[in-house]
Every structure is written in C-alpha cells, then in structure tokens.
Symmetry: C2
Subunit: 196 residues, 2 copies
C-alpha cells in the first residue's frame, strides 16, 4: 500500500485498465452486490490493494466503470441539513442540476442505454448506490416502509428525467429547475414521508 | 368509397402495405401534426379515400403505423364518468392494466426503443393522441393551466412504466395495480387538478 501510494507503479495505467475491464465484465454478469473486489483482482491479475489504491472501494470502482462524472456520495453529503420531509424535493433539485450540467450528457447516455435494454447497470446503480444513501438518511429520521417508499419516489424522479432529457418533451424540457422542483418536488416528498 | 367498402380491392393488401410504409416514413420525418393524409396517399400512389377505408382517419393510421394494439380513444371512453379530480388515478389504472395485458410487450418495445433514441414516434404518440384526449376532458371540467399540468402528470405515469416494465425494479415491478394506483395515483391527480 505504501509502495503503491508512493507513485504510479510501473505499468500502472495498464493495470488500472485491466481492473476496469475485469470489473465491467463482473458487474455486468453478476451485479454490484455479488461482485467482490477479490474476484476483480483475480480476474485482472493484480493485488486487491491496488484496486483500493486506484478506486478507494467497490463503490468507487463501480462509479469509474459506469464512467459516472459525479460520485453520488457527494450529492447526498449536501443534503445532510435538509429536513426529511423536504429531502425528496432537494434530491430532485440536485439530480436536475447534475443532469443539466456538463456531466449531463454522459448520464443521459447511461440512462438511455439502460432503458433501451441494457438495464443491469442502471438497476445496480439505483439499488446499490442511490437507494442506500436515501434510505440511511430517512431511517435516521424515523421514516418507515422505506422498501416501498424509495422506489415509488424514484418513479417520479425517473419520469421527469426521461421526459426532460430523453424525450425532450415541452414544456418539461424547458422549465426551470426551480419550477420543476416546485411542481414535482411535493410528489417526491409525499412518497418519501407522508402516509401512503 | 362505396366501391372500396364493397369488398377488398384487387391488390388491397399490397396497397395497404404501401400506405403504411408511406405513412411510417412521413410520420417519422415530419411528425403527426405535419403529415397529411393527402401526402400519404400521394406517396403511396393510392386514392385518399382508400386510407379512410382501411384506417378510418389519421389517428387510426398512426395507431396502425406504430402497431399499437389498443386505440387510445377506447381507453379514454371508459373514463368519461370519472370525476376530474380522480381522472389521473384512473388513467394510471387503465395504462397499468394495458401494459400488463397481452398488448403490453408491444407497447414496451415501442417505449423502450423511443427512450433508447428513436423518440419521435413516442413523442408524437403522447402529444398527438394521449394529451388531447386528457386535455378535452379536463377543460370540460374547468381546469386551467393544462399546458403544464398534463406533461407534468405524464412524468409520473412515464416513471412508473419505466421502473416497472423497463428496469423491472422491485418492488414496483411486482406491486399490484391497485397498490400502485393507491400510492402513485394521488400524485397524478394532484398534478392534474390541485393548485400547483
């Protein structure tokens, strides 16, 4: 580990690529949960410590594999002071902001290809990365029935993303983020915290 | 017209196919609104009355082109006695029912390919067929701001369709239609008729 941190190992870029390639294959075949860093290391013929060196942890590796330009953990960190009953709205605001940023086109491509049939990665992304963060935040606030609430709230978020960025249907495509959060945010908040 | 109705014209199947082919090309290139039956007839080298004979009107032709197993008009006809403030829920119920029926796989294929990049047909379908029907019904009930309400409500409907039938993410994929209508219907109702 010390040695790895001291500088880029000889052939480092090649080994990094091997790790990404092995991870991509394993994530696609077995999903996020069932893929171990050990298995990735074995397939890539590297020491497991090298994966930590490059990608931090399995989440970091996954974010790199799907070429996500933002780490979901950073998005959620900014929501820490938002009260639970407004968490849905603010999450919607963060996601709309990211999708309208320079990071947007990459995310739209992943989303499009996932809905077009290659759904494993997006499904893993939602279930493994996004949902647990929201869940922990709401569980802390004492909200129950999260196994249903979060996926139901995700339907509203996914729908506005698809309408705005994939179908580009007006007026949703051109509405301001404030306007969308004002009109659709209450739906997300309601599904996350109101009686269902 | 009388002659056409009297029986299948010689070479009818071929002419029907020519009409569908011409219509598919024109709808894709110019959209539903900008495509005239006259232009389809010219491109297919048939009399415009033959299009009416086979497909009734432009909507019927469009439904045939996208190989839609149900006519949206029939779905909306069943909603005529539903009060405006419940129209969103009942529309959601109808759509979920259709998508879970034998007609579902065809619709899912259209939806998937549309979100995957070939969005013109689905966009036309929503704007030309579904939205005007909902709009007329709500306008009759005195609801205003429909240019925003209907597309916003459509985001919730589209999101649950994508989550349930494209990503097949649990628990949304396995929830009963009643359960989905009970939990998500109020979102659709709210966007259609509550103060925004």
């Amino acid at each position: 580990m010390t040695k790895a941190r001291a500088g880029r190992p000889a052939g480092g870029s090649q080994r990094r690529d091997r790790i990404l390639s092995a991870a991509r294959t394993l994530f696609a075949a077995k999903g996020f949960q069932q893929t171990s860093l050990r298995a990735v290391a074995t397939d890539a013929d590297v020491d497991v410590a090298l994966i930590s060196h490059y990608f931090g942890n399995k989440r970091g590796l996954f974010v790199a594999v799907i070429e996500l330009p933002v780490d979901p953990a950073e998005v959620f960190a900014s929501l820490v002071s938002v009260p639970a009953h407004r968490l849905g709205s603010e999450l919607l605001r963060q996601l709309l902001t990211i999708w309208s940023s320079p990071a947007g086109p990459g995310l739209i491509a992943v989303f499009r290809s996932s809905l077009g049939g290659d759904q494993e990665l997006l499904r893993d992304f939602i279930t493994a990365l996004v949902l647990p963060e929201v869940r922990a935040r709401l569980a802390d606030a004492g909200v129950e029935d999260l196994d249903r609430r979060i996926p139901l709230a995700a339907t509203q978020v996914m729908g506005v993303m698809a309408m705005r960025h994939l179908l580009e249907l007006e007026p949703v495509a051109s509405m301001t983020i404030d306007d969308l959060v004002r009109t659709l945010g209450p739906n997300v908040d309601r599904l996350l915290t109101d009686p269902l």
